[in-house]
């Protein structure tokens, strides 16, 4: 495997292989000294044109735990401000000798574009509203860890909120359905893409109608600027209809799981403290982020695929 840019590029075998490889990485993170020399001499550059806390930090931590060197590209203090193009920026960093770029950009398709300009591996850490494959891997791993299910067949997963602008939703829909789950999208019509008829999902506009039937309740962040753009009338109305309230927590199945990719908007989609929810996996999602990204980096850079794909 050379790049990780989308879930469909990964396929079912790649997905399950990476989840299994993550078990090895999770064990390393349990050790008193959580560091292995596996990627000694490799360099990983993070190229973030959009803000990020957990994705960037977990990639850097993952690289360091595998003994890779890291380079952090900070747009606000870079020559991008002097007018350097993306292509020249990538070429410059490539010339310094990097083995992988971790890329986040507001435009769809940038990871594919960059992979034509460099021989390094490309990991998509979010491109516009398109894909965020490592978040989907983290979420699948977290569900697998909590349920001990090797595949998700028979599992019903609701993704609630701003589907239209969410790359997390798109990657997760692909990953969850690939593993056999049935996915229901819950959102007001204004926050759904214009046409989801070709997506392998069902759609509901009422959270209360499905909340007692789902095994996983996946809450998405509502970006506050969506109100200014006219997608929701008021944040209060949105949170009343689609927010996770105390009442809705009580309506959940007793073993249902609550997830959120972060950052959370407390008081909007999360009307409660997530630690009040018995089966909240939000902290596991963050903790597993490092292990999953270690598996991705090792798979792409560990010279020779450990999953038996094309080397």
């Amino acid at each position: 495997m050379k790049h990780l840019r989308s879930i469909d590029e990964l396929g079912l075998d790649g997905l399950t292989g990476l989840l299994q490889l993550t078990d090895h990485m999770a064990e390393i993170n349990q050790r008193p000294v959580p560091k292995v020399p596996a990627l000694r001499g490799r360099t990983v550059a993070s190229l973030f044109f959009e803000d990020s806390t957990r994705t960037r930090l977990s990639f850097e931590t993952a690289a360091k735990r595998l003994s890779a060197d890291t380079m952090t590209f900070n747009v606000s203090t870079s020559s991008v401000n002097k007018g350097e193009s993306l292509r020249d920026t990538v070429a410059t960093i490539t010339d310094m000798g990097v083995d992988a770029f971790v890329v986040r950009h507001k435009s769809v398709g940038i990871p594919w574009q960059i992979s034509q300009w460099t021989s390094a591996s490309i990991i998509n850490a979010g491109d516009g509203a398109h894909q965020h494959p490592t978040q989907a891997l983290v979420d699948c791993y977290t569900i697998r860890e909590a349920t001990h299910a090797q595949n998700f067949s028979g599992m019903k997963i609701a993704i609630v909120g701003d589907i239209k602008h969410s790359r997390v939703a798109r990657s997760n829909i692909q990953a969850f359905t690939l593993l056999g789950a049935s996915v229901v999208l819950v959102a007001p019509p204004t926050l759904l893409p214009p046409d989801v008829s070709h997506w392998p999902v069902s759609v509901s506009h009422k959270l209360d109608e499905i909340i007692d039937k789902v095994d996983v309740l996946y809450m998405l962040r509502l970006q506050s600027e969506r109100m200014a753009q006219g997608h929701v009338p008021t944040l209060r109305e949105y949170s009343e209809q689609y927010g996770l309230t105390h009442k809705r927590v009580l309506a959940l199945k007793s073993d249902a799981i609550v997830m959120h990719p972060g950052p959370m908007n407390r008081g909007v989609e999360m009307q409660i403290d997530p630690s009040d929810v018995k089966n909240s996996l939000i902290h596991r999602q963050v903790a597993n982020g490092v292990s999953v990204r270690m598996a991705v980096l090792f798979e792409l850079l560990g010279s020779g695929s450990s999953l038996g794909g094309q080397a």
Binding site: Q20, H24, P32, V33, V36, A38
Partner: protein, 183 residues
Amino acid sequence: MSKSESSSTSREAMTAADVRRAIVRIAHEIVERNHGVDGLAIVGLQRGGTWIAEEIAAQINNIEKEVKVPVGALDVSLHRDDIGMRPVSLGAISNIPFDLSGATVVVVDDVLYTGRTVRAAMEGLNNYGRPRAVQLAVLVDRGHRELPIRPDFVGKNLPTHRADEVSATRDGVFVTPNPQAKP
């Protein structure tokens, strides 16, 4: 390894009974060398060494009934110097649920060959603490060392050709000459 290795092309170097006797002897030697089992821990290397480690520990617990020797498993694939030449065996995860600091750790593997696995294991063990001493037990020593490593406990010394394949299971030890190799 598969049963096909015990076909006519391969040579049986140890029978199942030989393997069982060698494990019993190694268990006695470990107890004798360490004057008991105080501070002793057994760590099998994934995957071939783990079942031998379990059997050695069971034998030791049989000899010295007062104490139960802790047994762990170590996956060295991420510590190797030849990463990429061997894939990670998915599912063969390290499991050392005890502190190794101050312990006498007996590393157990099936076949000792170049010594690179054992080197990686010694490095990996240090992630779990600083053992007082590390000893090495192997079912088969087939020679061809590339590093200054020697075993403390050996089931059988088995001279081989470099190209031979050696498999060691409960059913016995089998040597398969590689037909592609030059004589």
